[in-house]
Amino acid sequence: MQNKFNKHIYRGILILSFIVINVLILYGITSVLAYLKTGADRSTMLHTELKSENVYLPKITWTNLENPGRTISKQELKSLQDNYLKSWYIKNIAYATNNPYGIDDFYTDSSRVPIFETIKLNKKQHITVDATTIRHQPKLDFYSEDGKLAVITDENVIEFQHIYKDHKLVLTSTDTNSYKIILLLEDGFWRIRHKVKIKNEITTDSITKNAFSEIINDKIIIDGKPFITKGINYYPQETPWDMFGDLFDIKIIENDFQLIKNTGLNSIRIFIQYEDFGKEQVLPEKLQKLQQVLDAAERQQLKVIVTLFDFYGDYSVLNWTLTHRHAEQIVTAFKNHKAILAWDLKNEPDLDFDSRHKETVTAWLTTLIQEIKKFDPNHLITIGWSSPEAASNLVNEVDFVSYHYYKNIDNFESDFQLLKNTTHNKPLVLQEFGVTSYGGFWNLFQSSKTNQANYHKKMQAIFKKDSLAFLSWGLYDFKSIPTSVVGRLPWRKKPQQFYGFLDLDKNKKPSFLYISN
């Protein structure tokens, strides 16, 4: 009986598994057939589906288009330039990842061989290269009559590279190289056929300077007189960290500027958010708003330190050129604006050292300084380091050294002296300092408006004694702080609201007496 029962079970399982296997086989066959029936869309042959997103925008200037062959049209030049730059981009990605993806599209059969071989070599030895080019100055040597072959000389290409072995940085270098290149137009792509590094032509940069200020020893000189920055970090009260947004109102800003001027201050520091201004495509309406702000400052005789790249944190070498275009568009637009004292490249970049590597961040800053100097040789350049210790970075690159101080006031003078010793007699500007007047639950009732007033009183006394340059943080208390500034935690957010000299109702706090000296 038992036996018979088992037999039925076995039979049942057997039949069931037979059915299941058949279903699976059928399913498999049908999905294979279905897969084979879905071919590539024919339109992909034309490469029309390629998205033309801006991923790589080194500065490119054609120095000469005259050539003995065919005259190149704007459209042809555009596609040649686009494909040529992409050939660099794709190559840079390939060497950064040791994966030759996409090389086929921008290098011909024979010229991709050395790249593949180099990748193989590097992969075997765990070498990766993070590289980007910053500037191209190509000239068209030859363009064939049928428009399918071009020879260009790309002179003095500025190339930056980080080269790693076993994830350890071996070399950071910025080189100037020149290349002679043959490109062929094959199925819609300009591909590199030959690329030969040649000797650099020596060219002299002709930058005409129209400087509004200069640095003599440790002093900033404007109109022949030493200028000691006495200033404040400024955001309109209603729109902290969003000065150029939808609620932008130049009247409010100008009134604030007048108020600042009346307290005896002579400078302000404002911030430009990288994404807000449109990243590599700077929005014209933002530039207009900035223009209004700068004009208002000029009317009120205030000097402005414009901090760029606020909330930017990528730094990856491949995307540098995008940041360069961002900076170029802004600084070029205002290179002749008298209200600007300096471009502050980045607020507290040292805070990104851990997450983005110190070498990468400082290399980005160094390159950016060189770029900005080319587009705007008229204004000074500084970097808003978060502490006196961090401010000893890139001392030789900046025009004056900016640092922030939020530590114990008693150590200020000794910290300042230390910084002074390491900065080779460059002008020093204390670009941010201050204390919150918030004395509530979230900071254990540790501060008060009187505390804040005492703090500023002491600081101003020091500044006055040694004629130090300062910009305090900040004019107003704010109703709310965007999460992107200090995060969500209330014990960080709450004190941040109350650094101002004017409270939420624009009444003067006790500290207002000590806003300047």
């Binding site: 010229s111 180099t118 049928d146 071996v170 070399l171 590094k197």
Partner: protein, 411 residues
């Protein structure tokens, strides 16, 4: 073999540099100094860059290389107190400047460059491009031949390399010499006055290219004449008249390309425009058009749009018929037209158009049309429509018309 050349070179280099390297050492106060003096190497040769070190080496330095196509790091070999770097073949076989940077303990100590030059004595490889592949006869249009001579490692040969460019057309074969500039040698191959195939080849350092062809097509058509050809001159609406062009040629006496469209426009006496067209074969276009069905004179002119035109031709057509009979029957409700007799008194071919206009007291009531069949046309004037009254008629066919006086349709 290659190494055989290299070793004495290196030795000479070492001798030459011995004094110099000492000087470098003293100036730079660096631990390492360069031994290799050769600055230019032929592509594909075994390239070594060697350094000497004054101190005892704790950790071997590395050399970062950067050349036309990429960067890498190579490790040192220690050989007889020399620090030796062998450039990988990937880097040594491609021409151009090769930058090196000597790194010791994470610090760049020396940097400089060598140049790799094309391996000229190797067999030259030619790559040639010809475009556009077809051009127009005459001495204005041209194809461009671009030749890129390279060495065996696919490196472009140096400036001023001689390239011979040969061209053949009909009886003539010519050769010219071009020098490379910017890696390429190029020549504009101008078209000839005759149409035909132009063959082009090139050679460089005893390497010959394959044969390339550009086709010289005839140039634009010039004005031409037309004539006509027809069976008879009667306007029977049935025969075809042929319109023929003279052989159409370009300015250099080449027959224009087959398939050129010629458009014939015809204006008749009523100023109506008729059109027909044909494409050329061997320079001649041959179009046909149906005779008119009434006597008229055609003015014919042919065009190749935007390029050429012909003379104007007059073609007269005579009436095919002089008179015809009309019979009324079945209480005048059936009107028989015919027989319609043609120019030889033969029955007109089927399909001649006959129009019957019906008037009631001078106003047109209806026009009936029909085509002939075996020489006759029968119209039905239905009593259902035509009440008892007087009607007059007009019958038109092949360019002539006949009026019939009012007939009373009262019973």
């Amino acid at each position: 073999m290659k190494k055989g050349i290299y070793i004495p070179l290196l030795l000479i280099g070492i001798i030459l540099i011995s004094a110099f390297s000492l000087e470098v050492f003293q100036k730079e106060k660096s631990e390492f100094s360069l031994i290799t003096t050769t600055r230019a190497f032929s592509a594909g040769s075994a390239i070594e860059i060697s350094f000497s070190s004054s101190n005892k080496i704790k950790e071997l330095p590395v050399l970062v290389l950067n050349h036309s196509y990429g960067s890498t790091i190579i490790d040192a070999e220690l050989k007889e107190n020399k620090i030796l770097f062998k450039i990988p073949i990937v880097f040594s076989k491609k021409t151009g400047i090769l930058n090196w940077n000597l790194i010791s303990n994470g610090i760049s100590i020396l940097k400089s460059s060598i140049e790799i030059i094309p391996f000229i004595s190797s067999k030259t490889v030619l790559e040639s491009y010809l475009g556009p592949p077809s051009i127009q006869a005459g001495n204005r249009d041209y194809s461009m031949l671009v030749v890129i001579p390279t060495d065996m490692f696919d490196n472009p040969l140096p400036e001023n390399t001689l390239v011979n460019i040969n061209e053949q057309f009909l009886e003539s074969i010519s050769t010219s010499e071009e020098k490379t500039k910017d890696f390429v040698a190029w020549k504009n191959i101008y078209s000839k006055e005759k149409s035909g195939d132009l063959l082009i080849s090139s050679s460089c350092n005893s390497t010959n290219s394959k044969e390339l062809t550009t086709i010289i097509y005839p140039s634009n058509a010039t004005n031409f004449n037309i004539s006509f050809n027809r069976n008879h001159s009667f306007a029977d609406g049935n025969q075809l008249t042929q319109l023929i062009t003279s052989p159409i040629k370009d300015e250099f006496e080449n027959l224009i390309s087959d398939g050129t469209m010629v458009e014939f426009t015809i204006t008749n006496e009523k100023n109506q425009l008729l059109k027909t067209s044909a494409s050329t074969i061997n320079g001649i276009a041959n179009a046909k058009i149906l005779h008119p069905d009434y006597p008229t004179i055609w003015k014919v002119k042919a065009f190749i749009r935007g390029l050429a035109e012909s003379n104007t031709l007059n073609i007269p057509f005579k009436a095919v018929i002089s008179d015809f009979d009309v019979k009324f029957s079945k209480n005048n409700s059936e009107i028989t037209v015919g027989p319609l007799l043609s120019f030889m008194n033969q029955l007109i071919p089927d399909g001649a158009l006959v129009k019957l206009h019906i008037y009631e007291a001078e106003t047109l009531v209806e026009t009936k049309t029909a085509t002939s069949f075996k020489g006759y046309v029968i119209f039905n004037v239905s009593p259902a429509f035509y009440k008892e009254n007087y009607y007059s008629f007009m019958i038109e066919t092949l360019g002539i018309s006949k009026k019939i006086e009012p007939i009373n349709y009262a019973k």
